[in-house]
């Protein structure tokens, strides 16, 4: 087996381990979210600012740019999605929604902070793949597709 292929396999194994860890983190938070929402009398439904749903667009755009093998361009686009989330936080704060306001808001901030962490890690995934002598698209492609699904699932969890 040549070295490039071996490195590629190592990267895919690392990706699988990383995505497994991310899956467990979000599953644990989502599970706690469902229990807290269902088994309490003090749950106030949170309606998200539109910018959170809009942030799905740049996130999907990153995936499209990765398909065109423009990894550095994708790494420039990725912070846009993170910035939209932080902007949404500010909008919520302006409406008086802070992490201690009610359990729904607390859970939202923790879930969204975890997702922003995932986005920032995704920028390093892109830069790392772009630095290789032969740019490797498969790892960032899977990472960002998974991130898009994660974002849609989170939006659905909070909207439903």
């Amino acid at each position: 087996m040549d070295s490039v292929e071996q490195k590629h396999r190592t990267a895919l194994t690392g990706l699988a381990a990383g995505l497994s860890a991310a899956t467990m983190l979000f599953a644990a938070l989502a599970s706690a979210y469902i229990v807290r929402r269902g088994i309490s009398g003090d749950w106030v439904r949170l309606s998200l600012p539109a910018i959170f749903y809009a942030s799905i667009a740049p996130s999907i755009l990153v995936s499209i740019v990765i398909e065109r093998r423009l990894l550095r361009t994708a790494a420039l686009l990725a912070p846009l999605a993170a910035a939209m989330h932080l902007n949404g936080w500010r909008e919520l704060a302006n409406e008086g929604m802070r992490i201690s306001t009610n359990p729904a808001v607390s859970f939202f901030f923790v879930l969204d902070a975890a997702f922003i962490g995932y986005l920032i890690a995704g920028i390093f995934v892109l830069l790392g793949a772009a630095r290789r002598p032969v740019p490797d698209v498969s790892v960032p492609r899977i990472y960002w597709l998974y991130g898009n699904l994660l974002l849609i699932a989170l939006a659905a969890l909070i909207a439903i």
Binding site: T13, A16, S20, T23, M24, A27, A28, A30, S31, A32, I34, V35, R37, G38, I39
Partner: protein
């Protein structure tokens, strides 16, 4: 044997009592959350089993 039931359900006494004391609606929510927490590790385990089998 009476103690065989909680053993079969694989829960500690405290969790078993708390879960058993819930109303039907709350029990349903608890079950949904348990499934949500249980499915990912099973999928991850299955995926790694497949990976190990294919690379053996």
């Amino acid at each position: 044997m009476n103690f065989a039931v909680p053993l079969l359900l694989a829960q500690c006494v405290m969790c078993f009592r708390t879960a058993a004391a819930q109303q039907i609606e709350r029990a349903r929510i608890l079950n949904e959350a348990i499934l949500l927490l249980g499915i990912p590790p099973l999928c991850i385990l299955a995926a790694f089993a497949v990976l190990i089998y294919r690379r053996r």
